[in-house]
Symmetry: C2
Subunit: 390 residues, 2 copies
Amino acid sequence: MKQTGDLNLVKKINKSIVLHYIRNYSPISRARIAEQTGLTKATVSSLVNELLESSLANEIGTGESSGGRKPMMLLFNRTAGYALGIDLGVNYIRAVITDLEGTIVEEYKVQHDNTVLELALVELKACIREMMQRVPESVYGIVGIGIGIPGISNGQGDILFAPNLGWTHVPLQQIIEEEFGIAVVIDNEANAGAVGEKEFGAGRDAADLVYISVGIGIGAGIIIKGELFRGSSGFSGEIGHMSIQHDGKPCRCGNAGCWEMYASENALYEAARNILNTQKIDMELLLTLAEKGEPAVIKLFERVGHFLGVGVVNIINGFNPELIIIGGRLAEAGRLLRPTMLQSLEGRSLPYPRERLQIEFSQLGSRSAVLGACSFAISKFFASTKVSVE
Amino acid sequence: MKQTGDLNLVKKINKSIVLHYIRNYSPISRARIAEQTGLTKATVSSLVNELLESSLANEIGTGESSGGRKPMMLLFNRTAGYALGIDLGVNYIRAVITDLEGTIVEEYKVQHDNTVLELALVELKACIREMMQRVPESVYGIVGIGIGIPGISNGQGDILFAPNLGWTHVPLQQIIEEEFGIAVVIDNEANAGAVGEKEFGAGRDAADLVYISVGIGIGAGIIIKGELFRGSSGFSGEIGHMSIQHDGKPCRCGNAGCWEMYASENALYEAARNILNTQKIDMELLLTLAEKGEPAVIKLFERVGHFLGVGVVNIINGFNPELIIIGGRLAEAGRLLRPTMLQSLEGRSLPYPRERLQIEFSQLGSRSAVLGACSFAISKFFASTKVSVE
DNA sequence: TAATGTTTGTAAATCCATTAAACAAACTTA
DNA sequence: TAAGTTTGTTTAATGGATTTACAAACATTA
């Protein structure tokens, strides 16, 4: 209870409401905003003028009359600034620049082994420097940098633990902010993916959704009432280590029969090794074999699809989300996984929560995390005040 | 975005802040409230006076001086009104009256077979009438009625589906409101239990907690950031039907190897039937046998404890709550279940999320749901506006 | 073409909760 | 007794939103 109510707060609330309408329903007139929000025309006028002054909105000329004076239409100025999003993978760094609506204007990807912290930081900084040179001219320049990481972060921008990189306790936000003097946001790769899909992908209309990133392992990003749920200590979404076979094979995490031992890239490759004699097994190989109609390989995918469904049912029954989005590397095989996944889903889930559930594969593909990182930066830029009133 | 900012809102926010301080830190002086909240003394004075006028706070005389004028101490007037909470079980109706702080002042329980809707409604109304006669005199009288039900409700106060009662689509809120003219809140029994423990029990200091009600089946109430999470269509918490054995025994829900087939009252009884020759197996019998040191019966409890742990690990890994509270009938056997539950928990959970997790058995016992129901009523009374600002 | 009514956006006056500053009362300490 | 502190109220100022009024721009209709 630090924040109290005063006139300043009132203005921030209303200004963010007006901006919200301009961002989401533009082109829109002052009169229409007043009508929709319940604010008076005078208030809207005053706030819109401030937004015009700060270049966040533009007037783009008159619109259609509906029997009276023509309205002056307002447009969100999506190029008032740009966001830099980075997906820091285990063996690559991917970066994009988007405008304030999340449209990609620059993209960059480099293969790099990031397991040595010092080298990774050098590469990361070089990448950021490169992107900063590519940013178009604008009023605000880069409004923030968002970074998705394959690990757990606390709320203060420190990486606590990144198992696949071997990093612990890296104050990444601080390091990058000090280097570039720009606001930085750090979060988990699955969380970033969830936000990316929520803002720019398959989840735009859902308030409660779970994004499941199926790669080497399984991670999840959980969005509740439109907001990311990070868990009490940032560890929500380790759902790959949910056991679906209590006496199953032991996992390195301590548990037995973990979901990701049945339904992940690793699970797929391990099963493939028992069938194929090839040395190098990877996604491309398996996909091409499946395309060719190799029945044993198709069976592999079907089996993984089945187990995907088993875990998804558990999420549905515990969480009752509106939407489940499946992303990550394995989502590339969506077409092969879908039938058996839906089959085990139909057979196993409770009818009521199933009824309203939508389940989709990622729309943004490998870009969901990096776009989510951009969204973090944009949100921080706008969310000087985020207010919810019930 | 219906609610906009105006002076009215500012006042509501600040008034609820002041009331919050009086409710939680009384006895407290105006000066201390001003200091803690950041509001000016003048504002606090004005708002406090309104609260005094509406009988929600009282002055109880001067306190200790700290080197100046003695402060006038304020107390929350917990007896300004009363809440009626009802736990509508499958074969009982339990009701309590509490003051505005949740202290029980009247209690009532009746055995009744509620599976026939009409009969249950008659009994429920009779119960409410009975309790209304027992309410102490007060300014506001009964401020609301909260009802916990063994089923799913939508947000509008209708019971959608109550499998163990055989009810579907009962507009219970409307029925009771029309009969008594008092605000009514309906929610699931596990949700009510979660709120009860959060407000008055083991969860008072936790923001993110999961209450697991282990009875005939397993249900859960999920509290995120201090607020109940109901899922997108009210079905969150059907976590008893999370599979912990993907190829396990089929459950009537369609899934296989559901958690509640391994770790519930039913699971316990079924296992007991294979051991004991007695006709009537119930909790009391098993508990007394275990007390007597019957090794086979003790093993039964230990086994259930183990499987409780298996499911709890899944919740921890997916949700990362601060606190897990185990309630319901089976919590009565907490002493017997705890060792094996903790054992499977220690062995199976990821170290990081486990680190900060607390796990407890219910403090309120069989009263958690009925007290949560009271809390619903009290919250509705106060939550004319609930505001959160970030 | 003129009259009428509608819609849009701005301007001026008013409202009202908070803040800031001043103050009186009550109390402790030296 | 004098000086300093703390509490809580009073008073005026502040700055948002609202209300009311109004001018400009436009469509419709006669």
